[in-house]
Symmetry: D2
Subunit: 337 residues, 4 copies
Amino acid sequence: MIIVMKRSATDDNIDHAAQQVEKLGLKANVLRGAERTVIAAIGDERVEGVRSLESAPGVDEVMSVLAPYKLASREAHSTTSVVEAGSLSVGGNQIGMIAGPCGVESEEQLMTAARAVKAAGATALRGGAYKPRTSPYSFQGMKTEGLKLLAAAREETGLAIVTEVVAPEDVDLVGEYADVLQIGARNMQNYRLLEACGRSHRAVLLKRGASATLDEMLLAAEYILDGGNSKVMLCERGVRTFESHTRFTLPLATVPYLQEKTHLPVVIDPSHGTGHTSLVPAMCRAAIAAGADGLIVEVHPDPENAKSDGYQSLTCEAFEKVMAECRRVAAAVDRTL
Amino acid sequence: MIIVMKRSATDDNIDHAAQQVEKLGLKANVLRGAERTVIAAIGDERVEGVRSLESAPGVDEVMSVLAPYKLASREAHSTTSVVEAGSLSVGGNQIGMIAGPCGVESEEQLMTAARAVKAAGATALRGGAYKPRTSPYSFQGMKTEGLKLLAAAREETGLAIVTEVVAPEDVDLVGEYADVLQIGARNMQNYRLLEACGRSHRAVLLKRGASATLDEMLLAAEYILDGGNSKVMLCERGVRTFESHTRFTLPLATVPYLQEKTHLPVVIDPSHGTGHTSLVPAMCRAAIAAGADGLIVEVHPDPENAKSDGYQSLTCEAFEKVMAECRRVAAAVDRTL
Amino acid sequence: MIIVMKRSATDDNIDHAAQQVEKLGLKANVLRGAERTVIAAIGDERVEGVRSLESAPGVDEVMSVLAPYKLASREAHSTTSVVEAGSLSVGGNQIGMIAGPCGVESEEQLMTAARAVKAAGATALRGGAYKPRTSPYSFQGMKTEGLKLLAAAREETGLAIVTEVVAPEDVDLVGEYADVLQIGARNMQNYRLLEACGRSHRAVLLKRGASATLDEMLLAAEYILDGGNSKVMLCERGVRTFESHTRFTLPLATVPYLQEKTHLPVVIDPSHGTGHTSLVPAMCRAAIAAGADGLIVEVHPDPENAKSDGYQSLTCEAFEKVMAECRRVAAAVDRTL
Amino acid sequence: MIIVMKRSATDDNIDHAAQQVEKLGLKANVLRGAERTVIAAIGDERVEGVRSLESAPGVDEVMSVLAPYKLASREAHSTTSVVEAGSLSVGGNQIGMIAGPCGVESEEQLMTAARAVKAAGATALRGGAYKPRTSPYSFQGMKTEGLKLLAAAREETGLAIVTEVVAPEDVDLVGEYADVLQIGARNMQNYRLLEACGRSHRAVLLKRGASATLDEMLLAAEYILDGGNSKVMLCERGVRTFESHTRFTLPLATVPYLQEKTHLPVVIDPSHGTGHTSLVPAMCRAAIAAGADGLIVEVHPDPENAKSDGYQSLTCEAFEKVMAECRRVAAAVDRTL
């Protein structure tokens, strides 16, 4: 940690700040420059109250040197972790392909989608039974009934089930039916939920919050890992920016960046990442070329009548075409799909 | 709702889209322009699946006309609602002033802060017993013990207690001790929590998510109102932008905008909104001049040793000075403090 | 254009707004809904003063229906335009690969880079002679001497020269030496410069401003096209967002979006788009998979001693490897490189 | 400057990085921690090529310690500079109030506005003769004729003239008629224009770019100061964020932040900062309460027929009311208006 003193800092200020650093259990190196003095604090800076040092007299800024996460870091585990959950494997040479409708709406809708994505080569089925919705007046999901339909779809197709869990009290129930617990973007910093997922034996797909930094996402993963669950996949689903031609801005540089910093595998969601069906195929191909370990894509048999997210869903036919394109790109980066 | 057709849309596409509109229970007016056809859909567009229309063939874009919230809207209640909770009143002529430490750390810390803010003229005491923290390794709050200290502080000072609740299962417990349930920025779209607060009889301070739109904040409030709790205050606490000299960017235009759109009172949080102690006084004054109904400010007896948020906390002495400044600005806009 | 009236709008307000619409030469269709009245204005809404309608009494909002650009639109030209400039071709089946140093620093530096990128398969050489720099104390470029070195590099390698022009008065001079005039992100809305490039016969590479919308970029292109120069390439180089692990956020969905809206070819700049050398190769591959028509990449023989942008430059060896990877991805999307 | 080495950095990497630091004329202090080594580079880090150090083997990150600007810094001049230009004074106890139409449209429009803002107490008249417009099809301003009308308005009212200059070749001409040269947000990094204004003897109002950091704005000011012109005012006019209920997001914390960092006076533009007339009055009051040295406000005699910016212009009557409100707030912060 580096403490930058103000130009106007007195010797007393500098001594005091150095003492505060030592009080935190770190070693203080005072370096006096022509314009500014800096204090380099050596030791594990991930201790309580470190940033409050900015309130000490004469201190201008406190800059971190160490990454704030540990278990999620690449140093903790030098090869990429492979997360396995039923038919789904993410992190190995084969790219995991999770596809299906935004929400479970009916047996027919779900089974049609499940059969189609299976036939096209998907390795897991997505579908929401609990839908966190911006408006209280929107479709909130089929809940337990939806979970049962998902389990029935697995029964028939063999596809692992990925479905969202929105509250800690639901983790056990959802875990009974699902292979992967999805934590949505709005819940990325719902710490009780993270802790509950940390106690589950189910794999977890953790989505990035719409304005979360990657450090914050890795710290959210750290909550799960620290709870004892090592089966965590990270999912980039786009961030909120000034751009409005897409619903969110999908930063694919997240893929190589995370691969440098963490051993957790990385999944891309081009459906939420763009918000428009017509932009999804290009982003599927690009994600694979960037090195993503998996994709999660919304597929609906009848998008224009979907209860949610129709505008960003592929039809079953379009998904089949996307799979064919993605297979070729995967081969070009020495991966399989 | 307006459906903009693509230039290339055929007559069949237009007919089909119009039929879809009618199927949703709306009346379709087809307007053919030189370059584009638009369909104006008349009726209550807040129905399920409306946006999925973008997937219909030949449709380019669907634009909303009506605000998506109802109970929170200014039309539902033409005067600003006054929320009362113990010594705190927000929404009337007097500006509510909520002050206190980020987290409850000890009896001494809390009581010192409580007495100081009371003496300076605050009308409520803030202090977190449950702390949602980015890192699992950070101080997570004193929990029940913290709640008890808060209640003791109310006992002595008479100040209403504002404290955060982070999970639906805690709402009853926190409500036993607190006068106002605070929903933090990270939980603004934790719908189970919103629903639980909707069933509570305690007043709620709802903070804006760091990248939530104001429509999304109003829809979050709608969940609480729709649950039966009308005592909702909205709190602007800054949004995440490219700016890094402040921790968040505090958009004070939120105040007049919300006053046009909703009857719910508006509170400003200049501590999180700037992230730096030295910027807080100016933003307190500005918030009042902009017409805010309340402020929530972090005050700590010893910021540089605070377990959290020291860098953005005022000392007790600084708070007293800020109060004096704010009283003058309040008078200049015909309010009291 | 759609004019949404306030709920409180009177009949007089509605009549007045409709008259204002007619005064602008548009036809007003008044549609009265249960909650709101909207006026659909039919005709070419790209007329002066249209948005000032929002100031008319009772008007809530004015929403555009038509794209504001014409010559740049896909409707104006249904196939993608191929821009040719010496050895460079962008927009056809072959992907244009523009590579070279950020700035021209010396004959040796430039020639080493030029020979290396030529050998690796680049189709054009980039290099700045005029450097717009954030600080007045930074290296400002070799100017005319730099232009001469670039021309000498073309002489030897046959590579087309892409170099930045920063002021209208330089357009002729730069055009004497260069094959492509690059307009940098900071100058995307320097209209005098756009107009001067519109009068040039040289091809133009127009970079997106760091917070420009795509409509604004297309309107900037429209200035050039409207001036008579049809040889315009658009370049996505990343936008400014809250993300700080990359210098800018590179939204590759720009590629399919622009391909829907415009006939102008699209080039991606993964160097500025990420700001870190280690992230560049993945973004090169992803850009090609997304369908980009060209890439512009910073390559420097000795990045750690570069006068500018060393942190995001590839070495000559790294570039050769990237080219090999990109060739495979290009083949997977039926393009050549 | 702090160089953070990667965990995997070898002793050779560390030695090499330290040598590179010394080569730049700085003194290298190598500090070995448990997890990471950092090199603190002491000396003036504002030298060429510093950031390219990130390309040296084993280097993870380079962090600046010193502000990149010098002449603009508060250290260079400990009291706020007062900029005087005819009737306008900005930076002293009196708040400068610049008001008038977005663009000069006619003699009648300008004179009506000029008389009204003068009567209401404005100390300068704004009005654009050269209009940088997003679309080539929009009103581009009356140019020289507009300048003449502005000079005539000064003749009659005595108000100093603030008007935009969009190109270096216009600086002399505009300076003949105007008292203050305005550099618009889109030109904040048009360095030729900054340099030309640096050579002028006219005062300059420099607007923040819509996605410029405050360091970038101060470096833009540095270009002007370094050119010999010390009469620079900084203007916050809102930044581009995900928020869409306002056209830009107006961060008033810019005021106290800049007052800490620079001696240049700070002006707020609530018209562009909000983009909606109804939000302007509250932001005028808030800006003054925050400590702004001046305001620049769009006022038009007939906003709904304005050729540009009608949606964010106050009528003459509304401006008079805003002035009365602002005077009271100014008094509450011990300023005059």
